[in-house]
């Protein structure tokens, strides 16, 4: 971009400028660094970025390597989806909420399940004590899913389900309830989170060890390629990795490494990369360091495109695209002066948009204190609408491209991710790293370092270690009625009494056999779901074959 003579002259001038700048007293912070503890220079210029291969590195939106965005026209054609994740109490309450949302013009639903459902326990398990219906809706059998989607045409809406270890079971229930409505599986559209690898790394909602879990996923990918082509099978998630303490580079690297692992596993299972890859999408965190985050999203698209094309030999452009959902960083919110969280969330959301996200969830300001109140949820949504309608940032595509700093950061974070890929490879791959606790230890270390930086004053958090106020926080608390659990157990018991128990038992035994052999587990699970086997029973049917996961030692 610049000729050599110019750059040499520039270097000379910069030296002089730096010497002068050094003379000026700077504020007393000992380090200038990103939220990932990465040092930042005082100034970036043409010398900071190698633009000689502009077309290979940056290029145009909608064109390889997609650094500037996955679509040619980006937000001019299609705004990001404002996908606010929610879920509550009983299947009946959730059904009512969905009817309300659909009446308001929503065409996509996003189901939050409660913890027992996420962990594969029925509502009557000892393990579910105090948790039924708390963080989402409780689902035990097909009957619950039938209630949730009662009166809703599943051929007309797209449904996103945040579920991982038991994802096959919930998808099977969705397919089965649709069948009963006369909607064939090839008419269904939606997304499963279904990213078990990040569960071991960060979110910790696992059931089986990695290898059988990967098999469940590849079985489902095969099944969806054949029968549910409109389904996004995995939403490969960095969000939880970041929340667990990762730096931006770690979030990027570990998430993409997980993605490559799924690709490799599916290829190893004999599947065609150009058939399944277009059904993979991503889910990233939007943390507080504005430019670092934008660089992260841009680097993510570039790395994924290059690897999919050159390493995994995907031929179709659709397979090269990294499409992603963004959620603002829950871990950045403070319990102190909770209204400040509105501003935090707004800046984070803006970085997601400037980074070219396909959909966005903005957190509510009161989430560190309790489940979000209605007013807080509304303000979170309004934040997105203000960015979209008032700030003007959507007028032009990738407006920060060409910023010496942003391009430099994009290259730097890409290089950091590549270094992690090498390290993961050296340690024997993603599964091996999970087993020996490598990722978990890296995250724990970063989280501890971050905390120490706050405590020794190297890092200022407004309202926490500076600008502290005596305050009396009065936030209304949303409580989930304990009767939800009682009712859920009662209806579960009723199902167990009225279903054909011999048939259920036989079908579950067939699933156990299938798990032992090489059959497609997704098909066998679908059979169990149809005869009203409970989620817990289905999980238990595979447990003796697959074993149970235990977290590796921490330090």
């Amino acid at each position: 971009m610049f000729d050599k003579a110019f750059l040499e002259k520039l270097a000379e001038y910069k030296k002089k400028w730096e010497d002068e700048a050094k003379e000026i007293p700077q504020n007393s912070r000992s380090r200038f660094m990103t939220i990932s503890s990465d040092d930042v220079e005082i100034l970036y210029g043409p010398e900071s970025v190698d633009m000689s291969n502009y077309m290979d590195k940056i290029g145009f939106p909608g064109e390889f390597p997609y650094t500037r965005g996955v679509h040619k026209t980006m937000y001019r054609s299609k705004m990001w989806t404002m996908r606010q994740f929610s879920g509550m109490g009983s299947p009946k309450q959730t059904n009512e909420r969905y009817h309300y949302l659909l009446k308001q013009g929503t065409n996509g639903l996003s189901v939050a399940f409660d913890l027992p459902t996420l962990m594969g326990y029925d509502s009557d398990s000892d393990r579910s004590l105090g948790e039924v219906g708390k963080c989402g809706v409780a689902v035990d059998t097909l009957a619950d899913m039938e209630t949730i989607f009662d009166g809703i045409d599943t051929s007309k809406i797209s449904t996103s389900m945040t579920i991982n270890a038991p994802a096959s079971i919930l998808l099977a229930m969705y397919i089965a309830l649709s069948e009963k409505k006369g909607v064939p599986s090839n008419k269904l559209t939606g997304t499963l989170q279904n990213d078990i690898l990040k569960e071991y790394i960060a979110q910790k909602e696992w059931i089986y060890p990695p290898e059988p879990s990967i098999r469940l996923i590849t079985d489902m990918m095969q099944f969806c390629s054949d029968h549910v082509p409109g389904w996004n099978t995995i939403s490969i998630s960095g969000y939880h990795i970041r929340e667990a303490g990762a730096t931006a580079a770690q979030e990027l690297a570990f998430t993409l490494a997980d993605g490559f692992q799924y690709v490799e596993s599916a290829i190893a299972a004999g599947q065609d990369v150009d058939v399944f890859a277009k059904r993979l999408s991503f889910f990233f965190n939007a943390h507080q360091d504005f430019f670092e985050e934008i660089a992260k999203y841009r680097a993510a698209r570039r790395i994924w495109a290059k690897r999919m094309r050159y390493k995994y030999n995907a031929k179709k452009e659709r397979s090269w695209l990294l499409r992603f959902h963004t959620q603002t960083a829950g871990c950045s919110l403070t319990a102190q002066q909770p209204e400040n969280n509105l501003m935090r969330t707004a800046f984070q959301a803006l970085s997601g948009v400037l980074g070219g996200t396909q959909s966005l969830h903005t957190n509510s300001m009161d989430e560190t204190l309790a489940l979000p109140s209605e007013k807080a949820v509304l303000l979170a949504l309004r934040t997105q609408q203000i960015i979209m309608q008032e700030t003007g940032v959507t007028n032009t595509i990738d407006p920060l491209a060409g910023s010496y700093f942003v391009e430099h950061m994009t290259d730097k974070i890409e290089a950091a991710a590549e270094a992690y890929f090498d390290e993961i490879e050296r340690r024997g791959g993603v599964l091996q790293c999970i087993e020996e606790g490598y990722f978990q230890r890296e995250l724990a270390k970063s989280a501890y370092r971050y905390q120490k930086e706050i405590e020794n004053g190297e890092r200022i958090i407004v309202g926490v270690n500076e600008y502290v106020m005596e305050e009396d926080i009065d936030i209304p608390v949303l409580r989930i009625d304990e009767t939800v659990a009682d009712n859920q157990v009662a209806s579960l018991n009723k199902i167990k009494e009225t279903r054909d128990n011999d048939k259920t038992k036989r079908t579950l035994e067939e699933l156990t056999e299938c798990a032992k052999g090489n059959g497609n587990t997704m098909k066998a699970i679908l059979d169990c779901v149809r005869v009203y086997a409970t989620e817990g029973e289905i999980v238990d049917a595979m447990r003796p074959v697959f074993g149970e996961y235990t977290e590796p030692p921490m330090f």
Binding site: P209, E436, G547, T550, E551, P553, M554, F555
Partner: protein, 314 residues
């Protein structure tokens, strides 16, 4: 009611607090130990050692569960390293011991190594006395497992299981001599991994080449703690070693040797305590160092001079 009376009454929390007294060398702990020792019944002690990541805790988890199912009263001690700088320790072995049902009465105690380098904590064998006196009949001790030679276990156990994984090939090369001597049973865990066959073969050949043969032929077994494979067989081999010890008279031989060391340790500790309070008090040591630094004395004659003074004083 004193803590000791509650202990005799079968209170678990009393046992637990007595262990803390012993571990922290609180005043009167020797008297406590001597009373406890008189109530012991010769608890059978199994030791598990091996490099990090060998799955020791997972095996302990399964062995303890099986022993409890067989009606034994089982206790477990797991030792983890203490930081030499802060003295703090992260004791995380219980994470892997979740299968032991709470109601089976298995007692698990985690200990920081607190400065010891031989794989156990200094107080481990004294804690064994308390567990024995409480009525446990079987104890499993898991060593620190940081990948160095951890030989303390020979003095604290009857049967030593050395746990390895296919990946620990290099570790064995380094440790070969010692490992061969301390192992009564070898378990190659995670044996579904590449290299397991080779490791089993290597171990067996190394054992055959040993010049000093005992009547006990050290068995080598492939296990998979994750899939609960062959762990019952591992327990069978351990118990076989136990009966070998009992019938061959080896058990009382081993224990005799261990007691000899134990008495030595008690004496050493008392002498050391005397030395600390008699010679090393009042800045005597600092003064001696000062003299050495000035070139007026050397460390060896200073040591001899101070020791002589101690002997005269006592």
């Amino acid at each position: 009611m004193s803590l000791y009376d509650k202990f005799l009454d079968g209170s678990v929390i009393a046992l637990s607090r007595i262990i803390s007294h012993i571990e922290n060398l609180r005043p009167g702990y020797q008297e406590l130990l001597s009373r406890l020792y008189r109530r012991t019944n010769g608890i059978y002690r199994i030791g598990l050692t091996g490099p990090p990541g060998a799955g020791k805790s997972s095996l302990v988890n399964l062995l303890a569960g099986q022993l409890a199912d067989d009606g034994r009263r089982v206790a477990v001690i797991c030792v983890d390293p203490s930081s030499p700088f802060t003295g703090g320790a992260f004791l995380g072995d219980r994470i892997r011991m979740q299968d032991i049902p709470v109601d089976k009465g298995v007692f698990i105690r985690s200990m920081g190594s607190r400065g010891s380098t031989g794989g156990l904590a200094a107080a481990t064998s004294n804690v064994t006395v308390a567990l024995d006196a409480f009525g446990f009949d079987t104890l499993i001790i898991e060593t620190v497992g940081v990948g160095q030679m951890e030989l303390d276990i020979i003095d604290a156990c009857d049967t030593v299981v050395v746990t390895l994984v296919p990946e620990s090939g290099d570790a064995i090369q380094a440790l070969k001599a010692g490992l061969m001597e301390i192992a009564d049973v070898f378990a190659v865990n995670k044996s579904d991994r590449a290299g397991a066959e080779q490791m089993l073969y290597d171990l067996k050949s190394a054992l055959e080449m040993r010049t000093e043969k005992s009547k006990w032929e050290v068995p080598v077994i492939a296990t998979q703690a994750l899939h609960k494979k062959n762990t019952e067989e591992l327990l069978r081999l351990i118990l076989e070693h136990k009966s070998f010890l009992e019938t061959s008279g080896q058990l009382s031989h081993i224990r005799g040797l261990q007691l000899q060391k134990k008495v030595e340790t008690v004496i050493t500790r008392l002498v050391f305590r005397d030395i600390s309070s008699n010679i090393l008090s009042d800045g005597v040591l600092e003064k001696a160092v000062d003299k050495i630094m000035k070139g007026e004395e050397d460390p060896y004659s200073a040591g001899m001079r101070l020791y002589k003074r101690f002997k005269l004083g006592s």
